[in-house]
Every structure is written in structure tokens, then in C-alpha cells.
Amino acid sequence: AQKRESGEIDSHTIQLSSLFPSSSSPCVLSSRASNTKSSLHVTHRHGTCSPLTSGKATTSPPDHAEILRLDQARVNSIHSKLSKKLTDRVRQSKSTALPAKDGSTFGTGNYVVSVGIGTPKRDLSLIFDTGSDLTWIQCEPCVQTCYSQKEPIFNPSSSSSYYNVSCSSAACSSLSSATGNAGSCSASTCVYGIQYGDQSFSVGFLAKEKFTLASTNVFDGVYFGCGENNQGLFTGVAGLLGLGRDKLSFPSQTATTYNKIFSYCLPSSASYTGYLTFGTAGISRSVKFTPISTITDGTSFYGLDIVGITVGGEKLAIPSTVFSTPGALIDSGTVITRLPPKAYAALKSAFKAKMSQYPSAEGVSILDTCFDLSGLKTVTVPKVAFSFSGGAVVELGSTGVLYAFKMSQVCLAFAGNSDDNN
């Protein structure tokens, strides 16, 4: 009753200093990742824990405007991928040819894990991505081009467990669903190509290699891309770990061991590590499940059915068709949650009404609901919860509601899509 009195039940009180972690705080390792056999540390690419910044955070804090610009590019390419799949289904009944703009924009790729590859094992930092399927790394001799990366570039000729894949193999034919491009042939070796909408791409040989997770979990013959021509926003990292739903994704290739189950906790700030665990080890008993929705069938995305949003204990009056028409998905590589326009409008107005005690501030990029919190030590924000099909109600953490540019510009961390159908 006391908590309800003071409104604590339906709101978070946040120390504003926690929204601006100092870039020199020492790294705090996730105990879960350290103590679970099938767990990897997840580090923030630009933080003090990242192997790419050798212990100190990158001097220049990430450029928020750039992060949000790239985030929008990624969202646009996810939408185009979905609409292409949708028109593919429509195309069976029609003969309209549509421009294929496939691949997903890479975005800012903030979360990195270290995976052992080859014999002898080489530990390489890979960005993990639930929104794409093909795992790839840069490979010597970089026949065309390689971007700069922290660790030495993998050299397949120095690994005794490396094999190129022939063009006639089933894995080569399944490249089109994993990358949006059919495999091609070079001297009877299968060649892959994956293009990300922001001019990032990787092209090279489809190969098989030994992967080692957390030093002891060894997987022989994992299909992956050995990139001889790589360009784009990956600077520093060695490649990408594809966690999508296609048969070439890493969870699908290790299904006999982990049954396509994995879980993660993202680091809540750049000076902490989170974890990525394969299999069921350590999964919290309080997990609430929702079925993967059919809207994303035929794509590699993990679809969700959102049925409602609650702000500060008040359920928003949003017709369920607002969510069901465009559908929803979850993506580790998208930074800011995108909502259908009507849902975002309802969230924004309810949130603003419960934040009326704070002065408004200018919006930034895709975020249009911002507050000036200069001079304050704490901020009290209404709790936001999502209801998913199957009865799961998920209350977001205090760091899941705000995106802080500076004290005078702290914004609601949601954005509306451009139209009701995407």
C-alpha cells in the first residue's frame, strides 16, 4: 500500500549518473559467463571490456546521431526483406517482378563475443546477430579487400581442420535462403556473398571449420564464410556470428548439442560484460515464453506477436489489429524499438502525460520525445510493459525506456514506423 501510495509500483526512479557511465570504469565480468561451460562473455564493442579497445574505452564516445542513423538503415532493410518475402508469397499468385533488395543492413553491431576457430584454435571477436544467419570471418590472403581488424586475420592455409565446400554440396544450395544470394562457383569451390544495405558486404568461400566455444565445446565441420572481399562497418571485429533461424545459422548447425536454444543478457553498460549461453544452462525459472509468430515464416527472423503495452500501470487503448497487421520481430542488432505509428502515438502521449513535471527538450534524429533533466540527480519514469501472445507480460528494466544523449536531452527510447503496414 505504501509503495502504491508513493507510485513506486508503477514507476522507476533512476540515478541520472547511471545513464552516463564513465568511459574509464574498470570492466566488470559477468559471473554467469565466467561460470557456465557453454557461455561466452558479451562485450560492448566500444566499452572498457571490449577486446577491441585493449582495456580502455574508445576515447570518443559513440556518435549517437550516427548510431541512430545506421539503426534506421538496418530497420529499413529488415522491412524490405520482410516485404520481399511477403511479395514472394504473393508472387506465387502474380508474375510482378520486384527489385530484390536483400540482405540486412549491418547497423552499429554493438555486441561482440569471442569464438575459437581452426586448428590450432584462433580466438576471434565476432559480432552476434539474431537478425542474420551466415557466420563469416575475414580470411587471408584477402584476395580483394579486408577492413582493419584488431586480431590477426584468419589464415585458412595455417589450419589443419579447414575445408572449402564444393559447389555441388547441399550447403552451397542453401546459401540463397541464408544470405539472399545463391552460391556461385569458382574452380568448383562454392562462393558466398552477403550484402548489408549500408554498403557493407562480405564475399568469399563457403567453408567448414572447427569452432570452439568457451575453450571446451568443440564443433567440427561448421559451415561458415571465409571472406576474401569484405567492406563496411565492421572495423575492428573479425566477422559475424549468425544466430538467425535458417538452416545455415550457428544454432541450427549445433542443434544436436543445443537443440537450437540460446539465451543472452546484454551488458547494461559499456563497462560490464553480459553473456551468450548456448543450450538450457542457467536459464532463469521466471522466463515467460511467447510463441514465435508466423509473420516471419520464410525469413530468418524471430517473429513475435505483441498484443498490448502498459505505461505506469495503465493499459493503452490500442486495437490489437494495430500490432497484428504488420507483425513484430526481435532483433539483437536493432538498437531502438520500432512500433506501428498508432501504437507509438499512444505510448508517447501516455508517457509524456506521466512525465509532465519535467521540461520538454528538442528531439534528436528518430527520437522525438525528449526531456531536459539538467541539474537533477534522479528521474522518476513510468514503468513500460509489453504483453505478448500466450499471456507473457514483460516489464522493461529501468534502462530499457530512456536513451540519454546528454542531461538536457534524455529521450523516450522508442520510435514509430513510417506507416501502419511495416
Binding site: 542443434a255 543478457c265 536459464i283 522466463v287 515464453f289 514465435i292 520500432r338 500466450g390 507473457a392 522493461l396
Partner: protein, 31 residues
């Protein structure tokens, strides 16, 4: 489609069960 992004995923333990055809969330599952 709506997209549940990684800012909102912070402090949640997110579970992908590809074989079971479901996704799970554990609020405060990361502490």
C-alpha cells in the same frame, strides 16, 4: 513490422527456443 530492439532488451534475459518455436523473457534475469 514492429522491431523489439536491444535497448529494450537490456536487463532482460532473452531466451530463443528455436526447436520449441518460442521466445522467452525473464525481467531482471540478468542480475
Amino acid at each position: 513490422a514492429a522491431i523489439f530492439g536491444n535497448v529494450q532488451q537490456q536487463t532482460l534475459e532473452v531466451v530463443y527456443d528455436g526447436a520449441g518455436g518460442r521466445v522467452g523473457f525473464a525481467p531482471n534475469g540478468c542480475s
